[in-house]
Amino acid sequence: MSYKEIIARYAEVPGGIIEAFHAVEKELSFLPEEAIAEAARVFKMPAAEAFGVASFYSMFSTKARGKNIIRLCESAPCHVAGAAEVVAAIEKELGIRMGESTKDGLFALEFTECVGQCQATPVITINSKPYLDVTPAIVPNILAEYK
């Protein structure tokens, strides 16, 4: 489905631009400039305001990124549970640094704040699905699910 069709589905939802952006990201993994301009038109606001919304929220990206979004929690409970070692293991496994995407477009690597699964730290999410008690040793197995 094109971004135009996706955004059109939310046209009648008051304040629906955030829901529309979520739907576009689900399809394209990021918000292309044209999609933000289209949303501005549909939700009747200046393009600057629509871009302001897109750039405000951490989960939205205005730059192209990999299809499967890996997020590593860097909040205090995960930090003391050894999140830094998990970061290093994932960076090594994918050959990219935090904030980058793999060349094949399969993975994007980002930091996130707490994802609310603190009973089993450190935590990562892939496309919002939580993986608990992550250790460097199990990183390759987790990523293999998406390759």
């Binding site: 979520h22 919304v53 603190c118 009973q119």
Partner: protein
């Protein structure tokens, strides 16, 4: 030894959350029926009498808040459930929504009847899409059963902004804007979502409501600490043996939580500190562990109950290392609307980072204290006002950790 008391989590693990019949069989929706048989003022008085205070962190009297929205005349009013649970170390609202979503819907519908609103929104954080699915299924089932009457509920999803837990920022986000807090007054009870009177309560607050209506305000008011009665759902993280959740009366002490239910510090190490209420909470030393986890008892020791997160740190933890993570968090999550927070969180992170790297001086410590003091009164919303608490409380209780690193 402290024992659990489950009011909010009364059905957790006992019923299938995706089967409304099981909720009804457990007594669900009887409270809503009872509420609708009362007049609105009597219902609000009953909630007021329970002395239930907001479980999102601000601790405002729930019935009093409802009364403000009730007495404001408007063609449309709204009920909003704040499910933007973002305080690091907190997952109580997720547990409630995953384990017993109908209890939240019922609480919202009671509120809708009390204030005269026929429309509700649940604003659920973007990190919980799987909870959004559960809520939508629960709403569909409630509609199909007709239990909500003419009260409609819609779920909206956030997109990763801690500040949207602040009620006016949350309203802005539902309206499709950047989540920047509004100036208060007007308060949402008078002028909230789309300019209409709006009640915003936390998930845990709403989950308490059916029980209060069912058993009465007096029954509830007698549980736990008199000034902040009822229970609190706590989530234990960090260096504690039982990294799990508990619901306890608010008269329970921190020591009972950490050493009783929590099973003590992990790995046989010694206790150093506990941060309660999430990342914006104060750090508490061993000497203050006999404080009750009630709103006012926590305020009295310069800490907060907040969201009920309990983050335990053992003797091996360096407070400056942990606090540096927290100041980084606040710099990232500051929305940028007001200068004291936008600039303050950045400078605070800079100063703590400098000390952590062994480049700080005594003058930097003095500056941190001054900056923290200014932010706690000058920032527009709770985010900026609370952001200095971890820095100021660790400077107070764990000064040696900072002093060891000064040049």
């Amino acid at each position: 030894m402290a024992e659990e008391m489950r009011i909010v989590l009364r059905n957790y693990g006992k019923i299938d959350p995706l089967n409304i019949d099981e909720y009804i069989a457990a007594g669900g929706y009887k409270a809503l029926e009872k509420a609708k048989g009362m007049n609105q003022i009597d219902l609000i008085e009953e909630v007021k009498k329970s002395n239930l205070r907001g479980r999102g962190g601000a601790g405002f009297n729930c019935g009093q808040k409802w009364f403000f929205a009730y007495q404001t005349n408007a063609d449309q009013k709204y009920v909003v459930c704040n499910a933007d649970e973002g305080e690091p170390g907190t997952y109580k609202d997720r547990l409630i929504m995953q384990g017993d979503p109908q209890s939240v819907l019922e609480g919202m519908a009671v509120c809708g009847y009390a204030i005269g609103a026929n429309k509700g929104f649940i604003y659920c954080r973007g990190e919980y899409p799987y909870v959004v699915d559960i809520l939508n299924q629960a709403i569909d089932q409630a509609k199909a059963k007709g239990v909500l009457g003419d009260f409609d509920i819609e779920v909206r999803m956030g997109a990763g902004a801690y500040v949207c837990g602040e009620e006016t920022a949350l309203i802005e986000s539902i309206e499709g804007h950047r989540g920047e807090p509004r100036f208060k007054p007007p308060f949402p009870g008078v002028e909230g979502l789309w300019g209409k009177p709006t009640i915003i309560n936390n998930v845990e607050t709403f989950a308490n409501i059916p029980v209060i209506v069912d058993k009465g305000g007096d029954w509830y008011a007698a549980i736990g600490a008199p000034s902040y009665p009822g229970t609190k759902v706590l989530t234990l993280t960090g260096d504690v043996n039982n990294k799990t959740f508990f619901e306890v009366p608010t008269s329970t002490t921190i020591r009972e939580v950490v050493y009783g239910l929590g099973g003590g510090v992990a790995g046989g190490k010694k206790f150093k500190a506990v941060q309660i209420g999430g990342t914006s909470g104060g750090f508490i030393p061993e000497s203050l562990l006999d404080t009750a986890i009630s709103f006012d008892a926590m305020s009295a020791i310069g800490a907060t109950l907040g969201s009920g997160a309990v983050f335990v740190m053992d003797e091996s933890r360096d407070m400056v290392d942990v606090v540096a993570e927290i100041t980084r968090f606040f710099e990232h999550e500051s929305c940028g609307k007001c200068a004291p927070c936008r600039e303050g969180t950045a400078r605070m992170n800079e100063l703590v980072g400098k000390i952590k790297d062994g480049k700080g001086s005594a003058a930097d410590i003095a500056l941190l204290k001054k900056l923290g003091g200014v932010m706690s009164i000058a920032c527009l919303c709770g985010l900026g006002q609370a952001a200095p608490a971890p820095v100021l409380t660790t400077l107070g209780h764990f000064a040696a950790d900072y002093e060891d690193k000064l040049v």
